[in-house]
Amino acid sequence: MGYESIDRNAIKTWIIGRTIVSIIIFTIYILIKYLLIVPRFNYILMVNYLINILEFIIILFSIMESFVWPFLEYQQWKYGIFEDKIELIRGIIVRKKTIIPISRIQNLKIEQGPIQRIYKITSVNIITAGGCHEIPAIPVEEAEAISERLKRIIEMGERNV
C-alpha cells in the first residue's frame, strides 16, 4: 500500500471554482476603483501608479491561482492510508507532510460542493480532537471505500487494545 494521487477531475473543479472567485474579487475591485477612488483622487499621480500596480498584481495572482496552480497542486497531492496512520503530502512552495495516527481520528466527514457534484468527486475531512484535515477530490465510490476501510482498521485496533 503506497501513496495514491487524488482524482484528475480535481484540476477542473479547482479551475472552475477559482475562476468564479477571481471574477467576483475583480468585480469588487473594479467597482471600488471606479466608484470611490477614480472620481476623488484621480489627480494624484502616486495614487494612479499604485492602483495600476495593484491591478497588475491582482490579475497576475488570479491567473496563477486559477490556471497554473491547479496543475501543480494536483501533481503534488498524495495521500496514503496505512494500518496505523494516514499520511497527507501536499504543497508547491512549502512541501508539507502530515501524519495522523488512526487512533486519534474522531470522525470522518464526506463533503460535496456543487461543482464537485458535476464531476462526481468528494472531499474527505478527517477530524481529530485538535482540528480538521482535508483530502480534496476523491471519486465517490473510493471515498466510501476509504471510510469503510478506516472503520475496519479502527475496529481492529480497538479489539487489539
Binding site: 504543497g91 495516527p101 481529530t128 480532537a129
Partner: protein, 465 residues
C-alpha cells in the same frame, strides 16, 4: 429525593447590572425619546421594558438549575430552547471555585465544572452558590471515584512575597503596567477634559523654547518616571493576583489556590493533564527563573487567566516540582538542536524585513535610517535567541519542544495528546536537509499548534505513533 439547586439570588442582580452596562446606549436613547414624545409616555415605556427585563432574568434564573444524582450531575437550562446535560462524575476534568470581590462580601462563590469536551465552547456548568455549598459540592464531586480528600498531607508549594515582587519585575507585567497607565490616561482624557482643560501643546511649546539639553533631560525624566510608576503598578497587580499562592498534590489530584481580592481555587485530575509548558521571558532567561503552566482542558481558558502551575521558580525547584507532582512529565530522552549551518535561516527573514524598512525610511526621511540600526540589533538578538532556544525531542511517551526567542517556551507533552504531526520544508531547506515540525494539540482552544523550525530531517516521524 434529589433536590434541584439554583444560582444564588445575587446572580440575578449581577446579570442585570451586566445587561444594563451592555445596553447603556439604549438608556441614552431613552433620553432622546423623552424630548420627542414627552415624559409620561417615556416613563411608561421605560418601566415596561424594565419589567420585561426583570421577568426575563427571573425566568432564566428559575429555569437554570442542576441536580446532583447518585453518580452524575443533571443540568437544565433555557426558557424556549431547553438544554439538558447529564455529566457523569468520572468525566469531570477540572473543578474551579472562584470568588470575586462582591461575592466575598456576600459569602458566595462561583463553581465551574468542566469535562474535557472541546466541541463545547466555554465551561459546561457555571453556578454561583453559597460558599459553604461550593466547598461541599467540590468535596462530593472529587471524593466520588477516589477516596482521598483535600487534607494537606504534603507540604504545599507556596510563593513568598519577595519572590512575587521579583516575578513582577522580570516577567512581562511591567509592560502590563504601561498598558494600565495608558488605559488610565484614556480614561482621564475622556472624563477630566470636561472639568479641567489642560493644554499639553503649551508645554511642548515651552520645551521648544528651552535649549536642547534641557529638553532631553525633561523627557528622559518623564519616561523614567512613567516606567517607575508602571513598575509599581505591576508589582501591586501581581501581588494582589498571586497573593497567598498555594499548590499541592494529593494522590492523583492537584490543587491550586491563589488571589487576594478575587480568590481562585482549582482542582483537577493529574491523569487529565496533557502537558506542561515551562516559560521564560527574556529577563527570566537571563536570571534563570521559570514559570510553569499546564495544558489541561477547562483550566486557563477564561479571560485574564493563565493555566498557571507555579508562577516563578528556580531551576532546582522546577525539577523538584516535576519530580514530586508531575513525575510522568520528566523528559530524559534525546534532544536535537538545530545545526550550526542552519543558523542563517533564523536571520534571513529579519534581515529582509530590516532592509525593506530602511528603504522606506530612505524614501520618507533619510535621517531616520540611523534609528533602524537599533531595530536591526533587536532583530538580531531575537534571531539569536530563537536559534539558541529551538530544540526538539521524542521518547516513548513524551514529546519535547522548545521554541520562541524572547518568551522561551519549553513544552513537554504526552504523545497521546498530539493529534497530528506536520513536517514541512521549502526547496532550500530540503537541499540542506532541514525541515520544520508542527504539531496540533488536543486542547481547549481548538487546534493549538506548536512549531519548531529548521531542524534535521527525519527525527520525528518514526517515534510518533
Amino acid at each position: 429525593m434529589y433536590k434541584a439547586e439554583r444560582n444564588h439570588i445575587l446572580k440575578i442582580f449581577y446579570d442585570m447590572a451586566k445587561l444594563i452596562k451592555e445596553f447603556i446606549g439604549i438608556v441614552v436613547a431613552v433620553g432622546v425619546l423623552v424630548s420627542k414624545i414627552g415624559l409620561m409616555k417615556s416613563i411608561l415605556i421605560g418601566s415596561g421594558l424594565f419589567a420585561v427585563v426583570i421577568l426575563c432574568e427571573f425566568l432564566m434564573w428559575r429555569k437554570n438549575f442542576f441536580i446532583i444524582r447518585e453518580s452524575s450531575i443533571y443540568h437544565q437550562e433555557g426558557i424556549f430552547n431547553i438544554k439538558k446535560v447529564e455529566i457523569p462524575f468520572k468525566r469531570i476534568n477540572t473543578i474551579d471555585v472562584s470568588q470575586k470581590f462582591i461575592e466575598r462580601v456576600f459569602k458566595v462563590a462561583t463553581i465551574k465544572i468542566d469535562t474535557g469536551d472541546t466541541s463545547n465552547k466555554g465551561s459546561e456548568l457555571k453556578f454561583t452558590l453559597k460558599r459553604t455549598r461550593t466547598d461541599q459540592l467540590r468535596d462530593i464531586l472529587l471524593k466520588r471515584g477516589t477516596i482521598d480528600n483535600e487534607s494537606q498531607e504534603k507540604k504545599p508549594y507556596t510563593v513568598k512575597p519577595r519572590e512575587l515582587i521579583v516575578y513582577s519585575l522580570i516577567s512581562n507585567s511591567v509592560l502590563k503596567g504601561i498598558g494600565m497607565l495608558f488605559v488610565a490616561q484614556q480614561f482621564f482624557d475622556q472624563y477630566l477634559k470636561n472639568f479641567v482643560s489642560v493644554n499639553t501643546s503649551l508645554y511642548v511649546d515651552e520645551l521648544k523654547g528651552e535649549d536642547i539639553y534641557h529638553a532631553v533631560y525633561t523627557i528622559s525624566f518623564i519616561v523614567l518616571g512613567l516606567i517607575f510608576i508602571s513598575m509599581i503598578l505591576s508589582i501591586i497587580y501581581v501581588f494582589f493576583k498571586y497573593y497567598d499562592f498555594k499548590m499541592w498534590s494529593n494522590g492523583d489530584k492537584i490543587y491550586i489556590k491563589y488571589g487576594a481580592v478575587n480568590r481562585k481555587s482549582y482542582s483537577f485530575d493529574r491523569e487529565k493533564i496533557k502537558g506542561i509548558h515551562i516559560k521564560q521571558t527574556f529577563l527570566m532567561q537571563f536570571f534563570g527563573f521559570f514559570t510553569m503552566e499546564i495544558e489541561s482542558i477547562g483550566y486557563g481558558d477564561e479571560k485574564e487567566e493563565k493555566a498557571i502551575l507555579y508562577p516563578m521558580c528556580t531551576n532546582s525547584l522546577k525539577d523538584q516540582i516535576i519530580e514530586d507532582v508531575l513525575c510522568e512529565f520528566k523528559y530524559i530522552g534525546e534532544i536535537t538542536k538545530p545545526n550550526k549551518n542552519a543558523g542563517f535561516r533564523f536571520f534571513y527573514k529579519k534581515i529582509i524585513f530590516w532592509a525593506v524598512t530602511v528603504l522606506i525610511c530612505l524614501f520618507i526621511k533619510p535621517e531616520f535610517a540611523v534609528f533602524t540600526l537599533i531595530l536591526l540589533l533587536l532583530l538580531m538578538i531575537i534571531g539569536y535567541l530563537e536559534f539558541k532556544n529551538t530544540a526538539f525531542g521524542t521518547d516513548k511517551n513524551l514529546i519535547y519542544m522548545a521554541y520562541h526567542g524572547f518568551n522561551k517556551t519549553q513544552s513537554v507533552l504526552k504523545m497521546t495528546a498530539v493529534q497530528s504531526l506536520t513536517v514541512s520544508h521549502t526547496y532550500f531547506q530540503h537541499r540542506r536537509g532541514f525541515c520544520d515540525y508542527s504539531i496540533i494539540l488536543y486542547s481547549s482552544n481548538a487546534g493549538k499548534i506548536l512549531k519548531v523550525k529548521n531542524l534535521k530531517n527525519g527525527i520525528a516521524e518514526r517515534a510518533f505513533k
